[in-house]
């Protein structure tokens, strides 16, 4: 008995020393600085937004967003971000429970989530809408022709509810197949288990890009919902929320000013007081956020502006082939708009 007891105590101590992390009192920035990295919740299965290759290198728009935050806090992102792949079901609790510091997992901002899930959304990093993807061979041209179809949908998402509303309001009959993992669901879809797959249009593009024969599928023109995808942080930590918010806005603002990762060094010499303030040549912004004055410069230098990030991960020259559309700058007819950095 004694041996067992000591063994047991030993194990407990071993386990607890291995895994317990004390994160301080709601002060995410301090906690992050103390441990030296940001734990970011990402998708893990979604091309273009958050997926690791077989060597474990993460890529995607959401991944770059997390990197921008890491650069803002630490000045670089190498080994400063650790990724936690999350399912749609576990993403919000992971944030609530402080398992992650930041959620960038193509989550839609809604009033319900903002108020009752204990989290706050920040600046949208991708304006999306829900669409439908079908095999071209099906011969469907509009979502209104989908009556009686079997639909693949991820459970526990806003898309699941939107689809239910859409079919209900159009008096169409439908059947759902709901599998929690994006990977398993898309495999079922490619194998013909469902006629249609519905999700955010960007996600559909990502899934289509992961298919063995991408050109045999098409995304229908109908967009049935608004899906502003935004990073989220825990409710009640305003400083951290500001940091994440302005890390995203920095990338947008940089594009507006025409600053890219290539020309940021030249731009830093600009005489324009707006740009000087933005890039931290004139001090002020950094201190206000509790960050290094050079945070915007670093983000642009290391991660790039929003346009670069977009084109690199999901743009027309990637397998996803998505147009800027709503995600263009406001000056180009899109929705991306940054408040002044002053």
């Amino acid at each position: 008995m004694h041996q067992f007891k000591s063994l047991f105590i030993g194990c407990t101590l071993l386990l607890s020393s291995a895994g317990l992390v004390f994160a301080g009192n709601g002060d995410t920035l301090k906690a992050v600085q103390a441990k030296g990295y940001i734990q970011a919740g990402v998708n893990g299965d979604l091309f273009g937004f958050g997926k690791a290759d077989q060597k474990g290198v993460w890529k995607g728009l959401d991944v770059d967003t997390a990197r921008a935050v890491a650069v803002a806090v630490f000045g670089n992102f190498k080994d400063r971000v650790r990724y936690t792949p999350l399912t749609a079901k576990t993403r919000f609790t992971a944030l609530q429970s402080k398992e992650i510091d930041l959620l960038t997992r193509n989550a839609t901002q809604t009033l319900g989530r903002d108020t009752s899930l204990g989290l706050d959304f920040v600046q949208v990093n991708y304006y999306d809408g829900q669409g439908f993807m079908v095999p071209k061979s099906l011969g469907v041209k509009s979502a209104k022709e989908l009556g009686g179809a079997t639909v693949c949908v991820l459970p526990g998402t806003t898309t699941e509810q939107n689809a239910a509303d859409f079919f209900r309001s159009n008096n169409m009959d439908w059947k759902t197949v709901t599998i929690e993992s994006t990977a398993e669901l898309s495999q079922a879809f490619f194998a013909g288990r469902c006629d249609v797959m519905t999700s955010d249009a960007s996600q559909l593009a990502g899934i289509r890009a992961s298919s063995p024969k991408p050109d045999t599928y098409m995304i229908l023109p109908d967009i049935i919902s608004k899906e502003p995808l935004a990073p989220a942080v825990r409710h009640g930590d305003n400083q951290w929320k500001d940091i994440v918010n302005y890390a995203v806005l920095t990338m947008i603002n940089a594009e507006e000013f025409g600053i890219t990762s290539k020309n940021v060094d030249e731009m830093a010499k600009s005489k324009d007081p707006k740009i000087q303030r933005f890039l931290g040549v004139t001090a002020g912004n950094g201190k206000a956020l509790g960050l290094d004055e050079k945070f915007a410069y670093n983000i642009i230098k290391q991660v790039g502006n929003y346009g670069e990030v977009f084109e690199r991960n999901v743009g027309v020259n990637t397998p996803l082939g998505i147009e800027r559309g709503l995600n263009a700058l406001w000056t180009n007819g899109g929705l991306m708009y940054s408040p002044p950095f002053k």
């Binding site: 919000f92 459970p155 699941e160 209900r168 709901t178 398993e184 009640g236």
Partner: protein, 393 residues
């Protein structure tokens, strides 16, 4: 000895007294558990309040707003979370009950096979047991599900092995009798026949015990079960119209559909659990000494009577307790449905948790439902076990 006794009678330090010590241990444990419980609950309340997470079971009344792929009762996205959860419970029950019956049958057959004097059969039985027992059931589910949608064609090229039956990657569609008032009466008649047959069998057994006269209760019962519904059917006008599935638009309309998710789950659970039951059945039969068989044969019983009257009734007593726990395992493993998209209770509850953010309530409901199921199964099996236990005369 005497001196020690006297000493202790005079004065025992209270911590050396076994009873007192026992009480102290218990009080300490109780306090510890109570403290930990209080601490955890306080943390939950604190965390929920800080992050303004809703609490309570009020969400059960709210509109669920999500669709469920398979349902045995009326349900639409406009119904409440409560109703959605009920649909989930029914789906769990459906797959568990059908699974229990099938797996018991398959397990018994395989178990008997492994003991067969036929070398091929016993080898196949053994290999089956070894393979299916040693591979995780979740992997088997993934395997069968992938097999189902990768191996079968789409609905437009569906296989049509028998007229009225279509197999595609949308599942199995088969013809069922078209809606007619007669069918509900037929079902009622069948249930009534079941009850009557049960009472006849009981009466016949009692009479045999009293007088020794035998009554062909098996054949009478079978006749009732077949005859009474048939009679009702004829009386109600003998409707023969069938509801045959036909390809309309994207899918088969009409008839009855068994989805790939349900099939894969059922097949996986049944094959996996049967491998354990086969072992239990084999051990049960082997536990009956060979003398029993010889004795039964020597009083002139036929082989089938030796098995059905002597061996099985005794083996059952050895088999029932471990069988119960395997059937419970099947019920619990049915929760793996969530991985292959069958909308069982865990999946519906998971979606509910995700939409409402009320993890504590959701997980509590999950535990409650499974505990109830486990409890009901073991109560039934205990009752059955008691019923067949040896009655000492």
């Amino acid at each position: 000895m005497v001196t020690t006794n006297e000493k202790s009678a005079v004065k025992t330090r209270f911590w050396n007294d076994e009873k007192t010590r026992g009480i102290i241990y218990q009080v300490v444990t109780a306090m510890l558990v109570a403290f930990i419980g209080y601490y955890l609950i306080a943390n939950v309340q604190d965390n929920m309040a800080k992050q303004s997470i809703a609490s309570g079971f009020g969400f059960l009344e709210k509109e669920a707003a999500f669709e469920i792929g398979e349902k045995s009762i009326e349900y639409s996205a406009a119904d409440s979370y409560g109703r959605a959860l009920v649909v989930g419970v029914i789906n769990t029950l459906k797959v568990s009950l059908i699974g229990m019956v099938l797996t018991t049958m398959l397990g018994t057959i395989v178990g008997v096979c492994t003991l067969s004097s036929n070398w091929l059969l016993s080898r196949i039985g053994t290999i089956y047991v070894e393979i299916f027992q040693n591979i995780p059931v979740l992997l088997q589910l993934f395997f069968f599900y992938a097999l189902f949608y990768e191996a079968f064609p789409g609905p437009r090229q569906a296989l049509n092995p028998v007229s009225g039956v279509f197999i595609s990657n949308r599942g199995i569609d088969f013809a069922v009798p078209a809606q007619h008032f007669a069918w509900s009466y037929v079902v009622t008649a069948f249930l009534a026949a079941c009850v009557i047959a049960f009472f006849i069998a009981r009466w016949a057994k009692k009479r045999q015990e009293r007088t020794g006269w035998q009554f062909p209760s098996f054949w009478v019962g079978l006749g009732l079960l077949a005859g009474l519904p048939l009679l009702t059917w004829v009386v109600c006008g003998a409707p023969t119209e069938l509801d045959i599935p036909a390809l309309k638009g994207f899918n088969f309309q009409g008839g009855q559909n068994i989805s790939p998710e349900f099939s894969a789950l059922l097949i996986g659970l049944v094959l996996y659990t049967a491998s354990f039951i086969a072992q239990i059945v084999r051990a049960g039969i082997q536990s009956i000494s060979h003398g029993q068989t010889e004795a039964a044969m020597s009083i002139g019983l036929k082989t089938k009577h030796v098995l059905s009257l002597v061996i099985f009734p005794q083996a059952l007593r050895v088999i029932i307790p471990p069988l119960t726990s395997q059937l419970l395992n099947l019920t619990k493993n049915s929760s793996l449905a969530v991985a292959i998209g069958y909308p069982d209770f865990v999946q519906v509850a998971g979606t509910t948790i995700n939409q409402t953010g009320q993890a504590v309530e959701g997980v509590a409901l999950m535990m409650l439902v499974y505990l109830t199921l486990s409890l009901l199964t073991s109560v039934f099996m205990n009752w059955y076990n008691k019923k067949i236990a040896i009655i000492e005369r």
